[in-house]
């Protein structure tokens, strides 16, 4: 049971970092990224590519940390003039392009067969690293959120034109937010590859992005603690419902389908009745006279 708790803590921390990463982009800056799985995949594939070509582990780790924000910049630069809805679709498409490239080009990281990556065989070490990643990500996200940068990102989220009238270049700040967010996601992508010991395209489907979005929407967009809670809720639901089949006489395939339906139901209920999420974003009032 302790092993399972260690494993679940590890996984929850990874998904919580992904949720924080999306929250910086969407909750704070208003960037609707439907390809949030991409920086995660870049990190994992950095580890996978290094392993596939016989390079040392540290090369993969370093590449993951650098390539995440770098590719983020390459993605946002040509699409910067797009309206948010088109940007959302572009991000979805770019993530799929990356996945399909990895699927179809065997020489990069094994193609359809995927590639084996050296594992962190001690689950406690994996947990410690993932907890550390969450703590660091949370502190960075909180500091951004509470700093003048965070306030400006919120202005950009609400009205880009207004931000521009303040003498700021919204695009520049969107790039900063995206670089930080993608660095976080990419870092846990590297970690995830070394926890599972295998990288292939199937782990980076659109549904994974949907799960991250669900965590953010359920937890509370705009609030870092909220999205961490959202990630915990979604992962806990996924795991806890596994025990239902053993406690009831329901067939396991029925329970499996109910489990997925429950996540969808939670999302619909939250959007309808509490769109601000479980933990509402705190909107501080500033006394402009003082």
């Amino acid at each position: 049971m302790i092993d399972f708790a260690i494993y679940m803590t590890t996984i929850v921390c990874i998904w919580a970092v992904l949720a924080i990463s999306l929250n910086i982009q969407f909750g704070l800056t208003g960037l609707v990224n439907f390809g949030q799985i991409l920086p995660f995949a870049i990190g994992a594939y950095s580890a996978g590519i290094a392993s596939f070509h016989g390079l040392p582990i540290w090369v993969g780790v370093l590449a993951g940390l650098i390539m995440g924000p770098l590719i983020g910049f390459l993605v946002i630069f040509p699409t910067r003039r797009m309206a948010q809805d088109y940007w959302a679709l572009a991000s979805l498409g770019i993530a799929e392009m990356f996945r399909l490239t990895m699927l179809n080009f065997r020489g990069i990281a094994g193609g359809v067969e995927g590639t084996i990556v050296e594992r962190l065989s001690d689950p406690r070490v994996a947990m410690a690293v993932s907890v550390l990643a969450l703590v660091v990500s949370f502190i960075v996200a909180e500091r951004i959120s509470k700093a003048p940068l965070g306030r400006l990102l919120r202005v950009i989220r609400e009205d880009e034109t207004l931000a521009a009238t303040l003498g700021r270049n919204p695009f520049r700040f969107q790039v900063v937010a995206m670089a930080v967010a993608w660095a976080m996601a990419s870092a846990v992508g590297v970690l995830y590859a070394h926890i599972t010991g295998f990288v292939d395209h199937g782990s980076f489907m659109v549904i994974e992005t949907f799960i991250i979005w669900t965590a953010v929407i359920v937890g509370g967009p705009g609030r870092n603690l909220g999205v961490v809670v959202g990630a915990i809720i979604i992962q806990a639901m996924s795991v806890s419902t596994r025990f239902v089949a053993q406690w009831t006489d329901l067939p396991s395939d029925v329970v499996a389908n109910l489990r997925l339906a429950l996540v969808g139901l939670l999302l619909v209920v939250m959007i309808m009745y509490r769109p601000e999420g479980f933990l509402r974003e705190k909107k501080p009032n500033y006394d402009v006279k003082s």
Partner: protein, 353 residues
Amino acid sequence: MAAAPVAAEPISVGVIANLTGTDVRTSVNMTRGIEMAVADINEAGGIDGNPITLITEDSEYRLQEAMNAANKLYGVDNVEVAIMFGGSSLMIPVANLAQDKGRVLINTSSSSSKLGDYPGTLFSVLPLDDIIGKKLGEWVAERGHKSAAFVVPNNTFGTGLMNAAADAFVASGGEVLAQVAYTEGNPNYRADMQTVANVEPDAIIAAGYGDDSRTIFKNAQQLDIAAPWYGAYPTIFAIDDEEWMSERFFGVDNGGASLKSTMELAERYRAEYGEEPLSHVFYGYDAMQIVAKAMELGGTSSSEIAASLPEVVKSYEGATGKITWDDRGQRIDPPVEFVEFKDGAFHILGTGE
């Protein structure tokens, strides 16, 4: 004073299958095969009087959920052995975990050569791709076809099988005109099938399953492609227009289907579930049977099961025929059957090893 009777202690066996997500039908067939085996084993008295109970977990055909399932089974339910359905992208990470924890994993569906890297942990009842692929390629050439086009899903199973079949077909004097590896889950494969139509092959060699195979056949019919189809594991293909496919669809399937015991099992399946069994019913059944026999022979701990399994299969002739493993626990030299689809059912044209 007489000793109080000892209550029979259930022995838990884990099952990991994609009960939701893609390829559910095949996976559920495998699960049902395991359940039928457990019914037989328990009816015969269980393992030294202890009944087997199954703990079935859904993988959603996603790595994350497969790992959640495996961690729960090995870490919370403390099962010594799990039987799994899923591709190599799920099977390999779960095998890593099983190896770390010193547990046993039985593979019923993945056929990647990388599975051989886990001797003593991972045992396969499904033969490797290259074996069935080789037999399929050779058989198509034997039947007088000079050229062929390949249509397979773009995954480890599809491409592995295509490579092996193409090599065998070319080695037997055939010519490969096109190799189409389609992306799974599309609503239409007309463009892929147009590629096949353009090269006018003597035969089409295919792998596939579920809705995708149904759509592929439909698109081929729309394009008036007249070439006969040769499929690997043809019983897992989904066929809508049985009349059009009649005497047009052939294939190489696992052996054993013509055995009396297998036919009885198939009949039982039809009676219980009201549908034709896929071959994965038999893989699931055999997986559970060899696990039970290994428990009877050597004990119920994972190390005892792992040590007994190679001994058990030497004398076991199951629903998929005789099982022969290499020294890594991977199935080699499986008995095969060459079949033809005719009048709504598959008919055996011949057998081989």
